[in-house]
Amino acid sequence: MIGFVLKRILGAVVTLFVIITLSFFMMRLAPGGPFSKDRNFPPEVLENIKKKYDLDKPLLVQYGLYIKRIVVDFDLGPSTRYSDRSVNELVGDGFMYSLKVGLGALIVALMLGLISGLLAALNHNKFLDYFPMSLSMVGISIPDFVLANLLVLILTQMFFLLPAAGVDSLAGYVIPCFTLGLIYASSIARLTRGGMLEILSQDFVRTAKAKGLSGSTILWKHSLKGGLLPVVSYLGPATAGMFTGGLVVEKICFIPGLGKLFIESAINRDYTLSMGCVIVYAVLILIFNLIVDLVYGLLDPRVAYE
């Protein structure tokens, strides 16, 4: 068990290293730099600025310094755009907003998805099966930015229920969380239904029925654990998707989160800030994948922790 966890953590560290390296060289090898768009500096000033951000050194040395700074000091460096703030501060601020949106969306997705998926599986080929499944087809097809805009239009303009933008109060989180939550709830509902139908047709469920166990015992004690396995393994990619989806809802709902920071910094060629955002996203996704792997092993005894 401990060996398995260590191996997974090692794998995650290697993946993180690959991500950092790839994005570092991708940004640096493209023409143009963080200061090419600004007004023309005198050459001496430009020289000094470049010195501050290590941009005057050869690329490989820059890379070495960057890695060293991350690993040794946990320091993502100074932002090339916001000269008075460090990337750690900027990312830290944005991260709190994005994390709240992400967690809210995850809760909405799990609750709605699991409930409607279970309802559909237990009422196979009846109205309660067809209705949520048709809805989930809509949820899978509708892009997040269309759904977010529609929710804003309906909830704020037609029913005057919520603030259209801003996260000053908790109500501001409702639209972003529901947008992302509804989209992933659709996939979770379909996976739950598929997994439960598969389990409910197994021999051991028939045996349980034959020996007279009640429906709820069969559901809770015998089938739920196995039936939810596809959902658990989907949660890894789903979290990654919810964070990328965060880019869109943060733009629509004017949330000063990580996604907004990331897109702006990528467009501005703010090397250090966009690298910082990528690293934070990658760490989040890798941690979630690790948790999912562990939970999967706990639920499914057939998976051995090698």
């Binding site: 790839l22 087809m137 097809s141 930015f145 805009n149 239009l153 869109v248």
Partner: protein, 330 residues
Amino acid sequence: MSKAAAQNDSLVQSTKSEKNHRSLWQDAVKRLSKNKAAVVSLVFMTVVVVSAVLGPILSSYPYELQDLDRINTPPVVMDVNALPDGIRTVIPEDYIQLGPIYWNTRHWLGTDELGRDLLVRILYGARVSLAVGFLAAIVSLIIGVLYGSIAGYVGGRLDNIMMRFVDTLYSLPFMFFVILLMAVAGRSFYLLFIAIGAVSWLTTARIVRGQVMSLKNSEFVEAARASGTSHLSIILTHLIPNTIGPIIVYFSLLVPRVMLEESFLSFIGLGVQAPMASWGSIVADAQSIYLFCPWQIVFPGLALTLTLFSLNFIGDGLRDALDPKLKGKQ
């Protein structure tokens, strides 16, 4: 082996019951035509494609023409003589009365912030969105099929290394790389579909590898090898054509996914650039004023959603038709 046997069984049964012989493909077409959702979706997609091709040609307005006297004209209004509100322009002679409402006969779906005809832009955007969707899916298909068939055919250590590489790539959050790439390397149309295609070939490679591995020891491949056919031509002319069923199914589900990614990129401003339009960028253009001009978001959003909806139904229908054993499993 069991799959081939099952297919044979179903073929034998169907030939017995129908008397005349039908191929696997005729069977598939028949199954598909019984699927109402898929047929309706096919009709809808045909309409979309035809109007995307013909619409901008037939229309009297080019997609980038700015009708500056008519900025933000709504498609329908309740009252043509209402006082101007500073955002919308309503020119009474453009409208005809239809019961309680007035309908804009000059710009059927209204205009956008720059006075461009929304209908023409949506039709033009359909061209871009569909083209990127299909081209990127084809790019990813070519990479995935070649990669997967080589890995599956050669097998052994090479297969191990190649598939380990795919596993590693699976764990990377690709959308972030695409965003970085589009942001730093300029936003060209070609880069857009190559970038999306290059990151979505992984599943194709896995599917094709599995198929090739199950086929490569069958008699017809052995016969081809015995008669001196080269490895390359065995892969290209014998193995890949036999995996065409699953490939078509996967392709049809890949197209809507790729279109979703393109619209996402265009929406955050990293896809196609003005004055070109795709459905994602039309929605993004309206982002600042859509609370006052909801039609600018509702129509392109509806076009995109309905198209993705029907492409998904077609994909599901094709899967049920070409691989009936999978029906209802996913």
